[in-house]
Amino acid sequence: MSHAHSHDHSSGHHDGGHVVPVSTFLKVLIALLVLTVITVLAAKIDMGKWNIVGALVIASIKAALVILVFMHGKYENRILWTYILIPFILLAIMIGGVFTDDPFRSHPQPVAVEKAKA
C-alpha cells in the first residue's frame, strides 16, 4: 500500500472487492447452525471447567467463519488484517492482565477478637 493512489486492487471491478458466490455463504450458514447445535448439546454434558473452554472454542470457530467468509476477511490485505486482529489481541491482554491480579490476591483475615472482659 505504499503508493496509495495506485490501483492495487486488481479485480476488474472499479470498487475492487471480491465476489463470493451465494452457495459458499449457504455452506457456511449450515456449518454455523450445526456448530450452534453442537454447543447446546455439549453444554448438557457436565465437563466441569472444560464446558466453558469448549463453548469458547466452538464460538471462536464460528466467529472465524463469519469473519473469513461473510465479512470477506479471506480476501483482505495485511493492513486490514492487522486492524482486525488488534481488538482481539487487546481483549486478550486485558483479560490476561486482570487475571494476573484477582486469582493471585492474598486474603488476610482479621484477628479474632477475644470477647471483651466485663
Binding site: M1, S2, H3, A4, H5, I79, I86, P87, L90, I93, M94, G97, V98, T100, D101, D102, P103, F104, R105, S106
Partner: protein, 542 residues
Amino acid sequence: MSAHATTAHNEELNYLNWKTGLWSWLSSTDHKRICFLYLFTILIFFFAGGAAALLMRLELASAGPTIPGIVKDPHTYNVLFTLHGVFMIFLFVVPGIPATLGNFLIPLMIGAKDVAFPRLNLFSYYLYVIGATIGAISLLHPVDTGWTFYAPYSTTTGTSVSLMVFAAFVLGFSSILTGLNFIVTIHQLRAPGMTWMRLPVFIWASYATAIIQTVATPVVGMTLLLIIAERVFGAGIFDPAKGGDPVLMEHLFWFYSHPVVYIMVLPAFGVVGEIIPVFSRKPLFGYKMVVLSSMAIAAVGFIVWAHHMFVAGISDFSAIFFSLVTFLVAIPTAIKVFNWVSTMYKGSISFSTPMLYAMAFVFLFMIAGTTGIYLAMLGVDVYYHDTYFVVAHFHYTIQGGAVIGLIAALHYWFPKMSGKMYSETASKFAFALVFIGFNLTFIPQFVLGMEGMPRRYYDYPSQYQNLHTISTVGAFMNGFGYTFALANLLWTALFGKVKAPRNPYNSVGLEWQTASPPIHENFPETPVVDKDPYHYGTPAHV
C-alpha cells in the same frame, strides 16, 4: 521566491478568506478550519481548568482555610480539582495536539487535499461540543470524584457523576472518530512518492497516537457506562456492597488512562522531532529509530496500566509484573531523547522561540521521565503513590511535555496557519515566564512529595506550608506566561502587520512548500515527493 507567478487575485485567496462568515467556519469540512474550531474550544477549557488550578493553588497557599470566601469548604476544593482534572484531560489535552495540529498538518505534510472523511471530521468536532456541553450542564451539581472516577465513591456520591461520565463517553467517541480518520488518511492519501519511510516524524507520532485513540478509548467509554449502570440500576460489577470488585474498575480505567498519556505526549515528541532539525539545519539523527520508538511506545503503553495500582490491593504478582513492563517504556523514550540531542551535533543552530520551547521540552521531559522511573519502582511507589510527587510528575509530563509541545508547535507553524509573523521579543518574554513559573510551581511539589504530603488534600499540616506558598507564586507566574504567550499569538493573527513568507525557516517539509496560509485544498496540484524528510546539510561532509 519565484513562485509568485500566480495572479495577485489568486494569491489573496486562501483557506482563511475564500469563504467568509461565521457559518462558513462552523460548517466547514476543511481540515485547516476544523483545526481552528478545535483550537478555540480547547483553549477555553484550558483557561477554565487553569482558573480552577489557580483557585486551588490560592486555597493551598497556607494551611487551613485560606480563601473561605471562594473555596468555602473542603467539598468545593474537591470539586475544583475534579473539574481541573476533567477539563484538562478530557477537554483540553487529549483533543489537544491531535485534533488541532494533527488536523492542520497531517494532510499538508503527506500532500493530501484533506483528511479521508472530512464530514466525519466535522462531526467529531460537534461530538466534542456536545460532550463539552453535557459536561457543562453537570456543573449545576458539579462532580467531586477526582478525574479517576474510582468506585465505589463515584457510584455512591450524590453529585452528578452520571452526567459527567456520559460527557466523557461522548468526548471519547469524538476522539475515536478523529483517530480513525487520521489512520485512514495516513494509509490512503499519501502523495505519490511519499513512502512510509519518508513520512515526517510528526506524522508517525500522530499515526501512533491515532491508533491509541481508536482502540483504547472504547474501553474507558464502556467502563464509564458501567458506572452509570451501577448508579442507575445497581449492576453489581464495581460496587463491593453488591458483590462487585472496585479494583476491576481501576484496571479498566487505567487500561485506557495509561495509554492516554501517550496520546498527550507522542504528538509533542513529533513536534520536537520537527523543530530541532530545522533550527539545527541537520537531518534528524536516527530517523528510523525515532519512528520505531513511537510505535514501540504506543504498543508497550498497552501493557503497563496497573503501575497506577501498586497499592490498590492488587496481587503482589501483578504488581511485580506491571512494574517490570513499565520500565520497558523508558527505553524507546530514551532513544528519542538521545537522537534529538545528537541532531544538534555540528548543526547551525538558531534560537527562535520554537527552538527554545523544544530545548525546554528536552529538559522538562527528562525530569518528567526520570521521576516516572521513581514511580515505576515498586518499593518507592508505595511511598510516593498519591502524594504530591505524583502530582509533580504528571504536571512535568503533561505540561512540560504536551502543553509545551503544543505551544512550541503553535509558534512554529504559526506563519503557515495565520500567514503572519509574531514578535520574537514578546514570545521570548512569555517563554521565560512560562519556563520559570512552571519550575517554580512544580519543583516544590516534588519536595512536598518526598516529605509525604498526600494529594487531593484541602488542608495540610503546617510543616508543608512554605513549599506550598512558593508553588502558588509559581502557578500565577506560569498562568500569566501562558496567557501572555497565547494572547501574543492571537493578537498577531488578528492585527499583525508582518506577512509571513511561504517558507520562513527554509524548511524542507512539504507543508512549507505551499502558500502561507495555504489555499483551500492545500496544494495547487498534487505534489510528488522524491526525497527523504529532513535532507538538510551537505552530503559531502559525511
